[in-house]
Amino acid sequence: MSTKKTQVTVLGGGPGGYAAAFLAADLGLDVTLVEKRENPGGVCLYEGCIPSKALLHAAELIREARHASAWGLTFAEPEIDLDKLREWKDKGVVKKLTGGVGQLAKARKITYLRGSGTIKDKNTLAITTHEGKAETHTFEHLVIATGSHPIHLPFLPQSERVMDSTDALELKDIPKRLLVLGGGYIGLEMATAYSAFGSEVTVVEMLDSLLAAADDDLVKPLAKRLEGQLAKIMLKTKVTGAEENADGIKVSFEGPDGKAFEDSFDKILVSVGRRPNSKGIGLEAIGLDTDKQGFLPVNAQLQTQIPHIYAIGDLVGQPMLAHKASHEGRTAAEHIAGHKVAFEPYAIPAVVFTDPEIAWAGLTEKEAQEQGRKVEVARFPWAASGRAITLDRTEGLTKMIVDPETRRILGVGIVGKGAGELIAEGTLALEMGAVVDDVKLTIHAHPTLAETTMESAEVFFGQATHVYRPKRSK
């Protein structure tokens, strides 16, 4: 049994944890990163954001090739070598990236402690190393970054046929009939990938719309397109039970009219949300309580009630997004290093990597309505974008939610190809406290989809070059 001591220990090597560890090291602190896997990366790199994007890229290629026949460019139907595709995802993408992050940890002289850690007391972790050895590890500061896990539905059978997002990304096979339970972003992204690979995908959602947090006008073009991609989208529908049999899984539903019905599938993907990993990490040993949803409360410096113990990422609250976790991790690291900082972003962008993509940042129209806040919304339809027309993808929309008094941009919403990339400009505008004039007066390269951001700002003034919609006099 050995004892190691360190200035900053980070428990959990996901995108929040390793960002915290790296910056702490860059700020001259002595850092230990405790993580189960061979390299840092967490859910994001191993079984979340990154591998799903690899599969979605493949799916996009298949769809674009099919779409091209409309302009006289006909390809043969793709042959999918599933083993090779999986290998590319695992080795070509995940391993490459996590290996690179591991190299970066080494370059920064961070002690990488491979194993799982539990909090023993206010300065000690109990570590079970990868080799199975028990160690204790003492620290001056701790950053808890244990992340989250997919919610499992207890009434579904324990079966190979019932997958969570991690299983689905393993890509064991292409089920003929796939039921996606939950119309949130994970469910829709996986539905998008599997339907392109040939699955007949049904999405079932309890609420009356897909992507409940997003504005309706952003969801609409996606919903329309998904209707052509998926077998069925069932809204306001509940899954009441499931039974496995020899050749599939029989699922019973309750429709919007209250009527029960059944259908059979080869596999089910459960994507109904995630829960923070706050149990079993020893919080009780140091007297830290979570809230009802399992989140660990922290202040703007990411400190728990014990000032030298910090917590970040999915563990501390919504939104459970990698980029939020990283920013929190970096804030915590700076605070530990003695800087006066706070986690105080004006906007955290959200991206749904479907086809088309949806992205938004800042205030949504829904939130403005809930708050009874007066806003003006300027919409630029991509039907008027030259670049969108050349891509034959004119269903998109870029909109700005603007304070009518100050002309300050309060929110930006985009649906369309590449929306996830385009939202960056909107996020920067929000952080800079830009007024809509600023975006209007910034030259955007032509022809690009980014121009839609500028033109939506022009729409606010009734002066968009490619939309004739004069400003209404009041």
């Binding site: 339970l181 939950g182 119309g183 949130g184 994970i186 309890m206 609420l207 992507l211 409940a212 947090a213 997003a214 109904v272 809230d291 009802k292 949803q293 989140f295 409360p297 922290v298 202040n299 703007a300 410096q301 728990t304 009630q305 000032p307 501390v316 609250g317 919504q318 939104p319 997004l321 006066k340 706070a342 105080e344 972003p345 004006y346 906007a347 955290i348 962008p349 959200a350 749904v352 938004w360 940042a361 800042g362 205030l363 949504t364 939130e367 708050q371 009874g372 919409r379 339809p381 039907a383 008027a384 100050t406 929110g411 800079m432 406290g433 007024v435 004739y468 919609r469 004069p470 209404r472």
Partner: protein
Amino acid sequence: MTQEITVPKLGDGIDQAEVIAVLVAAGDTIEKDQALIELESDKASVEVPSTAAGIVKSIALSEGDTVSEGQLILVLEASGATDKSDQTAEAIEKIEADSKADQNSTAPVPEENTEAEEEPSVEANESQTLEITVPKLGDGIDQAEVIAVLVAEGDTIEKDQALIELESDKASVEVPSTAAGTVKSIALSEGDSVSEGQLILILSGSAKVAPKQAKKAAVPKAAQTEKTAAKSETPSVSASTSATDKPKTPEVLSGKRPDLGNPVAAAPSVRRFARELGVDIQTVSGSGANGRISEDDVKAHVKQRLQSPAASGNVATALDVPDLPDFAEFGPIETEKISNVRRATAKQMSLSWNQIPHVTQYDQADITELERFRKTQTKVMDRAGGKLTVTAILLKVCALALKQFPKFNASLDLKKEQIVYKKYYHIGVAVDTPRGLLVPVLQNADQKGLIELSLELNELAGLARDRKLSVAQMSGANFTITNLGGLGTSYFTPIVNWPQVAILGVGRATMQPVWQGESFEPRMIMPLSISYDHRLIDGADAARFLRWIAMALESPFTMMMQGENK
């Protein structure tokens, strides 16, 4: 008479368009050519103008509808006459009613309403708890000290029962409970320094929520957690930040998660810079368009704060005072923490002394007749339940003198380069209490009789000694009287209480031989001192003012010889 407005021809080769906005509402009065709806076809988006003027009776379309030429947009009513037999109109009305009903069922219910429904008699469950927080302390008061905790854990308390006693710079108040229930835990203890919004205690059990408080603090929290709990069950990505999202991460320590309802216009780098300097970005005024704050604005803010000790909040300590010698070298010492009252006095006196070029002038009044009169009033005053004091008479006399000499009832505003004349006559009276100097204010002293002034003064002085004065009872004076006569002083130099411009000091009256033309007579002579702000008041003004007061005390009829100043 009703008229139907329909979708016009959309353009060559365009059969259908989508309604992307409805620009009028039922009941609107519209002009001809006013835009009614906005349509978007494959490429173009157009506004459809009205072909007639009138009042919108009903609208047949809603956003997202796909329309084609000739389709009904809305029904206009030309005048008050309604053609009830018009079937189309009726049908449309029905549609409208349905769609309204729809809206009602889907639109989020405003939170207040929900609370209003739940409030009145909701007995909280066992599990339900209620946080009682420190209320607003008063203008300009940020902090107060807990001097007593009046309840204990496990106590069952009533609504409005006093929970703690707070003492701010000058006032001490009891904080009442906004709800009834059982005290689950107390978050404060005696000696703590608290500010508005800070948790006092948590109530549980049969907590009946007081309506007002419910709206303000307790219920929204509960409602919100329920809401978020419900949300988390649904597979939704909730990612953008907003004020409503933030409380999901409860704050445990000092720092609050930023309220992003109205973020200041400052780039992240500027916000960070301000934080490093310990500046609250919300307090910086931006020089850019729409108040945008630059790094230079933050620097200027800091510079200004350093240069104006008055604004830094603690004048007494802001002065550059050298370190004290170690007194213990010379003999035994004892230290005592400066009390809130002492701190406030120190701050206010330093401010006054630094701001005001002081001059003090002296005079004296023969109060022999006044004393005789005072004794004759003993019975009257006994019946009223009090005693006619010299200070009460001085209050009346000074109020009338202030009317006569408006400059003494004014304040000097050098920032705006103006003199503020006040048309009310509130006078502060310095009261010596075991805690130090307190100055209750008698309002509208000019309008009150001597009986009323005596009783009120007595009451306020009692409150001051019992530490029960409210902030309001110590605010708003234009002039101050400080009477040290009871303690034996003669002449002294009081400090003007800024932003007032003058203060009257009163010493002990003594029997003195006074030459009365033929002989020396024993007369009661009262010493008077007036300190004033020489920026506004000149020596001659002060001489006249003080003489007027002395004369009024000696022969009250003289002050009735002239009419009042308006």
